[in-house]
């Protein structure tokens, strides 16, 4: 069985997986990082979004072996101790979540957008979140949170 090594939230991690082990299962089941969620079988909901080498991908549609050697950031890697990341803080401030199931993927996707554009328009945010589904909020406060979070990040994570 293959061994994978990757940097996850700044720490060197490794494990023995099957070829078919998905990155999300490696994160959740091997490393216990259960902040990354699985909300669908069809690669459409975005609850599983993490960063691989700096860009957002769906960890349910990536094999663990494909991420061998990569630099991975999950929702657990954003906060600095008790200090929330500016994007997390913006979601709290603007009430960008209700049940919270979609939130880890929303935040990871939003941080990728903010890294590219520090002042996205409402339209830009809605387009960018095409691959992140929320069953609760109606998106309105999520969009406000992402715009505020991007501005608070000021072009850097």
């Amino acid at each position: 069985m293959p061994t994978v090594r990757m940097t996850v939230n700044g720490m060197e991690r490794s494990g023995t997986v099957e070829g078919r082990t998905l990155l999300v299962d490696f994160l959740r089941e091997h490393l216990g990082l259960t902040g990354t969620h699985v909300g669908c079988d069809t690669s459409q909901c975005g609850a599983c979004v993490v960063h691989v080498n700096g860009s957002s991908v769906k960890s349910c549609t990536c094999l663990a072996v494909q991420a061998d050697g990569a630099d991975v950031t999950t929702i657990e890697g954003l906060a600095n101790g008790a200090d929330l990341h500016p994007m997390q803080e913006a979601f709290r401030e603007h009430h960008g979540l209700q049940c919270g199931f979609c939130t880890p993927g929303m935040v990871m996707s939003a941080v990728d957008l903010a890294n590219r554009d520090s002042d996205p328009s409402e339209h830009d945010v809605r387009e960018w979140l095409e691959g992140n589904l929320c069953r609760c909020t109606g998106y309105h406060n999520i969009v406000k949170a992402v715009q505020a979070g991007a501005r608070a990040m000021g072009g850097g994570s």
Partner: protein
């Protein structure tokens, strides 16, 4: 999903050897079509051979009369490329409209063309622009490459290495997207290029991408939205599914064609 042996070759020769040595081997590029299919057990390869580490499949170059895109270029790279934006903006815009940000960060042009989903966007761009599909062993004209739903001219062990797009005088793509997946319910690419005026349609037919000869002739005479406005599109052979019935799809093809011509300016 069934388990399989994973290979991570670093050269085309090693990738071909791994593929040929396997009982039921398949390539993986971005995994954005293959993995969803494997999760549904619609594909169960014994061996999966990754192209990610294979040298020479990346990069986008402006060759003067054409732009060449490496097979492993992601949709996001094509959308963000200065060469593509500058020479064939319609292609950059098309790539920017594929799926969602995460699909565009992982999915590749080579994977999209090898898969040839009847609702994928790239087939329309390739046929309208008269692109050439470059593989490890030959060059294939787009007109010969697409052979119906999920069918291509590729041999079992053939690897796409790049796609060469002639630079058109003008081109535009208009898509009526499925609201859930963003795949084309009907997508039309219109291009006025070295191969003449071409109109290629994706998403609408069960046979995959096709050209609209009547519209091409009309636009050859007068390149204007009015020229295509009067041309009826038959619903014969159009797909009918939960997104749209055959009649509605035929109507959408006419509307998208008109919008694409208008967008050509």
């Amino acid at each position: 999903m069934n388990d399989f042996t994973y290979h991570a070759p670093t050269s085309l020769d090693d990738a071909l050897a791994a593929l040929r040595g396997a009982e039921g081997g398949t390539l993986i590029a971005g995994g954005q079509s293959l993995l969803p299919i494997m999760k549904l057990n619609l594909a169960a390869p014994t061996d999966v051979v990754s192209l990610a580490g294979v040298a020479g499949l990346d990069g986008i170059s402006d060759d003067g009369d054409s732009v060449t895109v490496g097979a492993m270029c992601t949709h996001a790279q094509v959308a963000g490329s200065a060469a593509v934006q500058g020479r064939i903006p319609a292609l950059a815009a098309m790539a920017d409209g594929i799926g969602d940000a995460q699909v565009r960060n992982a999915g590749t042009i080579g994977g999209s063309l090898a898969h040839n989903d009847p609702a994928a966007d790239y087939p329309a761009a390739c046929v309208a622009l008269g692109a050439t599909i470059v593989t490890d062993r030959r060059e294939i004209a787009s007109d010969d490459y697409f052979q119906g739903m999920f069918m291509t001219a590729l041999e079992d062990d053939e690897i796409i290495t790049a796609v060469r797009f002639p630079v058109p005088a003008r081109a535009a793509y208009a898509k009526f997207a499925n609201p859930a997946s963003k795949y084309a319910v009907a997508g039309v690419m219109v291009a006025d290029g070295p191969a003449g005026v071409r109109v290629a349609v994706t998403g609408a037919s069960g046979d995959g991408v096709f050209r609209m000869a009547g519209m091409e002739a009309a636009l050859g005479g007068s390149f204007s939205a009015e020229a295509v406005a009067g041309i009826g599109v038959s619903s014969d052979g159009m797909l009918s599914d939960t997104a749209a019935g055959a009649e509605y799809r035929a109507h959408l093809v006419a509307v998208m064609a008109k919008r694409a011509v208008e967008a050509c300016g």
